[in-house]
């Protein structure tokens, strides 16, 4: 997995609350058995009409004229389906972090398993950040994983939660499956004790 320490980028704003995984990636794109190429389908139905023509001035493409690595979203981001395709699509589109005041549990795990950092901030910080980006779309946002802090000019700085284990995984590029495989002995011991 890629490593994450610091992210310095302008942000794409999707300020609606309760953005569900069907909006992030509609179910009809989940038929492939690969995990590549979902970035093109990100927020598809917000970007394209029923005939597949790009909607002019849509909220996503109008903000993506240059590469941005941070997505700033309304409360309860990623609710709904467990599809990891949602995290794959966001990461594949070049994002490294999503900022919101809360994340659905399964989306949060999926994001962490794909080195996509969920940055949970207070409602007040999120509202201030959204308003600052609205008035200056070029505003740079800084995310620093070692100090677990996010800051932007005129908004201030706030700390965000991430447990120590996950933080180390993200900074060193480790994944949960490697950890589990390294502890197979404990798993076998658990099975033996339970069956005894």
């Amino acid at each position: 997995m890629r490593k994450i320490t610091e992210i310095h980028s302008r942000a794409v704003l999707v300020p609606t609350e309760n953005i569900d995984t069907d909006q992030i990636i509609p179910a009809r794109f989940l038929k492939t058995t690969s995990r590549e190429g979902f970035g093109e389908k990100l927020f598809y139905d917000w970007r394209y009409d029923a005939d597949g023509r790009m909607i002019e001035d849509n909220i996503i493409d109008s903000q993506m004229k240059e590469r941005k690595c941070i997505l700033v979203a309304g409360d309860n981001f990623g609710c709904g389906s467990s599809r990891e395709h949602a995290a794959w699509a966001i990461a594949d589109a070049g994002f490294m972090a999503v900022v919101s005041s809360s994340f659905a549990d399964i989306f949060r795990n999926n994001a962490l398993n794909n080195a996509l950092l969920p940055v949970q901030v207070s409602h007040g910080f999120l509202a201030a950040l959204i308003s600052a980006i609205r008035s200056d779309p070029e505003l740079a946002v800084d995310i620093d994983l070692p100090s677990q802090s996010i800051s932007a000019k005129g908004v201030g700085t706030e700390r965000f939660p991430v447990n120590g284990y996950k933080k180390e995984c993200l900074m060193k590029g480790y994944s949960d499956i490697d950890y589990l495989l390294a502890h197979k002995d404990s798993i076998l011991r658990y099975e033996a004790e339970r069956d005894a």
Partner: protein
């Protein structure tokens, strides 16, 4: 301090604790389907590994499958390949698979309990958010992503942080004509679509004690729609009677021994929850949703409100614009185009019994398209065996074949753009049932009434208070 039911199961499955990190949890039952498993199988194969405990995993295809002519090859090549990949992957790894047309095939959350695969006091996962369904049997059951599916394949374990816990108690008696779906839509409308994020929910009280297993599954199924990691109901004699005699369930003395163990699966009286919510059964009426998240619900007969719990920002107006509704609009009597009975929420035999009971001797409304999709081959079999199929046919309805169908429209069952569907499924998200489709979630009785009148109406059998302000 006492332990909750959740604590007891979690602690019995904890393999390791990581300081300032998650716990390693052992997984008893892993259910898989064709949408969220192929990338996990591919990743495993690329590491030169096989599934570690294949006997704990069970597979079915349900999302991509057609609901007409299942005997023919699947028309959509991408869907056909997804279904074929599941057959190959399960065969390569020695996993039991219920392929299309098999008497055990059906929606993953319908067949798990029906086949006796899911018991009590277990950890149950599936790459599907509606895995919470299996909490109805007193299990810690939750949906996972594909990376986590791979972890379970490789190690039969997952790394999970312990969630907070909430208890939702509903006491009193439900009025006739109020279904388990109305109960959960009511709860979600009160708590909001993100109201239980980060929590595991126990449902307790008279209403759930008196509910059948099919009903408890409907309730637990939609726990995720208020953000909960899962929902759980303490097992009791209703649970044990359901499990007894099922295909993969223990039998004879072994069954009795297990029941004795399962009787310790309850929350201690002095256990403390992070959150407690209480509702009165008498306040619950037949429900519908009017917006684009499941928390945007009202009783049939109430007008569209001007905000919803957890949805009072730009999302609320966007939702009404999508639905073509306005604040203060009365939806009773509103003409609809489609009715869908089915899904892992309401595709079980009791849902078909309820629907058939309501339409018996009446006739399908002209101009309404009605899709009746059993949750499994077993449900389909029981529909015919009980004579429900005959009642439905006489009322002008046709039965389709089992699968997820129009719940998420991955197959051909798509609601057309702009059309209104009264749907017994679980999500009314934008585009969920097809591009531009407008979903009104409801229980099987409201769906039946819509199917015979073509309009949103209170079920004839409803015996609660006649009107609401």
């Amino acid at each position: 301090m006492g332990k909750t039911l959740f604590d007891k199961i979690w602690e019995a499955h904890r393999v390791m604790e990581i300081p300032d990190g998650p716990d390693v949890l052992y997984i008893d039952r892993h259910l898989i389907h064709e949408v969220t498993s192929p990338q996990a199988f591919n990743a495993l194969k690329s590491k030169g590994m096989k599934v570690f405990r294949p006997e704990r995993t069970f597979a079915t295809c349900d999302h991509n499958t057609p609901t007409l002519h299942q005997e023919l090859p699947i028309g959509d090549p991408a869907s056909a390949e997804a279904v074929a990949a599941l057959a190959r992957n399960t065969s390569d790894n020695g996993i039991r698979h219920f392929p299309l047309g098999d008497p055990g095939n059906g929606i993953v959350h319908v067949i798990g309990p029906e086949q006796g695969i899911v018991l009590c006091g277990q950890t149950v996962v599936c790459g599907d958010s509606h895995t919470a369904t299996h909490g109805a049997f007193g299990n810690i059951a939750f949906g996972i992503g594909t990376s986590e599916v791979e972890m379970v394949f490789a190690t039969q374990c997952l790394m999970q942080s312990r969630p907070r816990q909430a208890r939702i108690t509903v006491d009193g008696k439900l009025a006739r004509g109020v279904t388990p779906k109305d109960v959960i839509l009511y709860i979600i409308s009160r708590l909001g679509t993100g109201g239980c994020t980060g929590c595991f929910v126990e449902y307790s009280g008279e209403v759930f004690r008196n509910m059948s297993m099919d009903g408890r599954m409907t309730v637990c199924n939609m726990s995720i729609e208020m953000g909960a990691k899962g929902g759980i109901v303490a097992p009791d004699d209703t649970t044990f009677a359901y499990i007894k005699g099922r295909r993969f369930a223990p039998s004879g003395e072994e069954f009795d021994r297990r029941v004795a163990e399962w009787k310790s699966l309850y929350t201690d009286e002095d256990a403390v929850f992070d959150m407690e919510y209480r509702f009165d059964a008498a306040d619950i009426r037949p429900m519908i949703t009017y917006g684009t998240n499941p928390g945007m619900g009202v009783p049939v007969g109430s007008a569209v409100p001007d905000k919803a719990v957890g949805c009072d920002g730009p999302g609320f107006d966007k939702a009404l614009a999508y639905m073509g509704f306005h604040k203060g609009q009365q939806l009773e009597g509103f003409r609809i185009d489609y009715v869908f009975l089915g899904s892992c929420t309401n595709g079980r035999i009791e849902d078909f019994r309820a629907f058939a009971g309501a339409v018996k001797g009446r006739h399908k409304a002209d101009g309404v398209t009605v899709w009746l999709v059993p949750g499994s081959k077993e449900v389909e079999r029981m529909i015919e065996e009980e004579g429900i199929g005959k009642i439905l046919k006489e009322a002008g309805f046709e039965l389709r074949q089992p699968g997820c169908s129009a719940c998420l429209a991955m197959n051909a069952d798509k609601i057309p753009e702009g059309k209104y569907a009264v749907s017994t499924s679980n999500r009314n998200f934008e585009g969920r049932q097809g591009y531009g489709a407008r979903t009104i979630l409801a229980g099987p009785l409201v769906a039946a009434e819509a199917a015979v009148t073509g309009r949103i109406s209170v079920p004839l059998s409803f015996e609660g208070a006649p009107s609401i302000a």
